[in-house]
């Protein structure tokens, strides 16, 4: 094609401008597959420079190895607490299968569990935590299970209403997802209902008979909406317990060999490269490890020191974070009241509570973060990284 020199120059200019615009758009609105692919590609190329930079930094400003040893709590402390709080009472002829939670979407009333048909879970099984009824298993995969909570859209649940004078009446709840708490569209005795009445789960006719004896709670009644406009409805007031974000219990009348499923956590030795970022400054460290998948966190002496922000083949960048910096990603253990506290609750407590990872987004639950008042700790040269393999289950015993 014949182009005048001016036109050719213009064409090249436009091409370069288009390339730059594309790069800026990718920088502002990152498309993760492209970012990941690029990181995998450039990681081995850039690592020699990173190693050289780390060596130079070590020569100019040697990093002192941390002398103090911090008290390390086993992550099983949280697990033990969750089991104590969450395992429902034993039922004759039935077993409660303990399954860790992979992800929790409370707004849409959906929970994904880390076990599936490999753990003999079947559709329709009841899921509970402590004395609370949560929902039923709806989808069963090879290694994962989806549970629809009472609050999930269009989920109908049988309810037994405990009246003031001991009168028990039936009702049906309807989940609304993001629209709000589950409502009670049908009430057998609409005149006898009052605010704050206890609601228990009512089994279906084909549910195992022994489940009737469990007396699982749903919450209490609450009136919302405007009476004068005719929009007032009875709803179920009952939030998910914080500890239920860790593990739930599935009712089963026939079980396999194992009663506990744990997501596989792989711990690999790693080496610290750089301790500071050349653009963002302190609070970052580059870590090299012999793994291809992105690790979740790095840990040292059993204590998690930060999370992975970017993984580039066989090395990556981690954010060094103090225990309190994990905010909503941390849960606290209060041994006095034997409870697991979410972020809002542990921030209101004055004492230095032990914090653990909340789990989700690829980070295993229950890893020891440290006490709330502790500062971030600079990682030493030898540490380890932890990878959570989603969908792979292993006996946790």
């Amino acid at each position: 094609m014949f182009l005048l020199p001016g036109a050719e120059r213009y064409r090249r200019g436009v091409f370069c401008a288009g390339l730059v615009v594309f790069l800026v758009i990718q920088a502002v609105f990152p498309w993760q597959p492209l970012e990941d692919g690029c990181n995998r590609l450039i990681g081995p190329l850039t690592r020699p420079i990173t190693e050289l930079s780390a060596a130079a930094a070590e020569v100019v400003v040697p990093t002192a190895e941390p002398a103090e040893k911090r008290q390390a709590l086993e992550h099983s402390v949280l697990v033990e607490m969750e089991r104590r709080l969450g395992k429902p009472d034993a039922l004759p002829g039935m077993e409660w299968l303990e399954v860790p939670v992979v992800s929790l979407e409370t707004e849409v009333g959906r929970v994904t569990l880390a076990a599936g048909s490999d753990f003999h879970i079947a559709s329709g099984q009841v899921v509970a935590y402590g004395d609370r009824y949560l929902g039923r298993v709806t989808e069963v995969g090879a290694h994962q299970t989806t549970v629809e909570l009472v609050t999930a859209p269009n989920v109908r649940t049988g309810v037994m209403l405990q009246g003031r004078a001991g009168i028990r009446s039936k009702a049906v709840s309807l989940g609304r997802g993001r629209a709000g708490p589950a409502v009670l569209p049908w009430l057998q005795e609409a005149n006898h209902i009052a605010e704050g009445q206890s609601l228990t789960w009512r089994p279906r006719p084909l549910d195992p008979p022994n489940l009737h004896a469990a007396q699982l709670r749903l919450g209490v009644t609450k009136r919302i909406g405007d009476e004068q406009r005719g929009t007032a409805v009875w709803t179920i007031d009952g939030s998910l317990p914080t500890a239920a974000e860790g593990r739930l219990y599935v009712a089963a009348s026939a079980v396999g060999e194992r009663l506990v499923a744990e997501p596989l956590q792989v711990q690999r030795p790693a080496r610290r490269l750089l301790l500071d970022d050349a653009v963002l400054g302190s609070g970052w460290c580059a870590v090299a490890a012999d793994i291809a998948v992105k690790p979740a966190v790095f840990a040292e002496q059993g204590q998690v020191g930060g999370w992975c922000s970017s993984w580039r083949g066989n090395w990556g960048w981690f954010r060094i974070a103090a225990p309190a910096s994990w905010q909503s990603q941390a849960v606290a253990l209060q041994s006095e009241t034997t409870s697991v506290l979410g972020q809002k609750d542990w921030q209101q407590v004055d004492e230095a509570l032990p914090l653990f990872t909340r789990g989700g987004n690829g980070v295993p639950r229950g890893l020891w973060l440290g006490f709330r008042n502790q500062a971030a700790r600079l990682p030493s040269s030898e540490l380890s990284v932890i990878v959570q393999a989603d969908g792979v289950v292993e006996d946790g015993q």
Binding site: V20, L23, A27, A56, D276, L280, R319
Partner: protein
């Protein structure tokens, strides 16, 4: 890439990359200029040559070097460095490059895209960059570019095939 000037620029860029994390740790280091942007603006002449091939090669190379010592995505470096060249090219065609203040303004404006992208990423990663540091980074780039890019020196720089 066998130009004598590149033989100097590349080792200098690699050397600066190696010491960049230490440079940032210095007192007030968070306000220091972006080294790769500075080298790029000094290495690519104004007005840019007809072929944008070499400037774009340098953008990608410096972006790679930059991403070897930072968590910030290489796309941010490439986009920011490329945008800096375009901003400088657009301004330098309209402003008198023989006046120090206007050269400073050109360099200052050229530093804005990369600094804005860095701030955006820092915010996204949960380590917000102070606005004073962002301004300082742009000011430093403007100042150094104004000092080191004298118009008479730019005529021969990177003009392949030209006298």
């Amino acid at each position: 890439m066998n130009s004598p000037r590149l033989r100097i620029i590349l080792p200098v860029a690699i050397l600066l990359t190696i010491f960049a994390p230490l440079f940032r740790q210095l007192p007030g280091g968070s306000g220091f200029p972006d080294l790769w942007l500075l080298i790029l603006l000094l290495a690519v002449p104004v007005p840019a040559p007809d072929s944008w091939r070499r400037p774009i090669q340098l953008v990608f190379l410096f972006g790679l070097l930059r991403s070897s010592v930072t968590v910030v995505s290489p796309f941010v470096a490439w986009g920011g460095l490329g945008a800096a060249l375009f901003v400088r090219e657009a301004l330098s065609r309209r402003l008198n490059e023989y006046r120090f203040l206007l050269r400073f303004l050109t360099g200052f404006c050229a530093a804005i895209p990369l600094t804005v992208l860095d701030r955006l990423v820092a915010e996204r990663l949960g380590t917000p960059m102070d606005s004073a540091d962002a301004w300082m980074r742009c000011l430093w780039v403007g100042l150094l570019v104004a000092v080191f890019t004298r118009p008479q020196l730019k005529k021969k720089a990177f003009s392949r095939g030209r006298a």
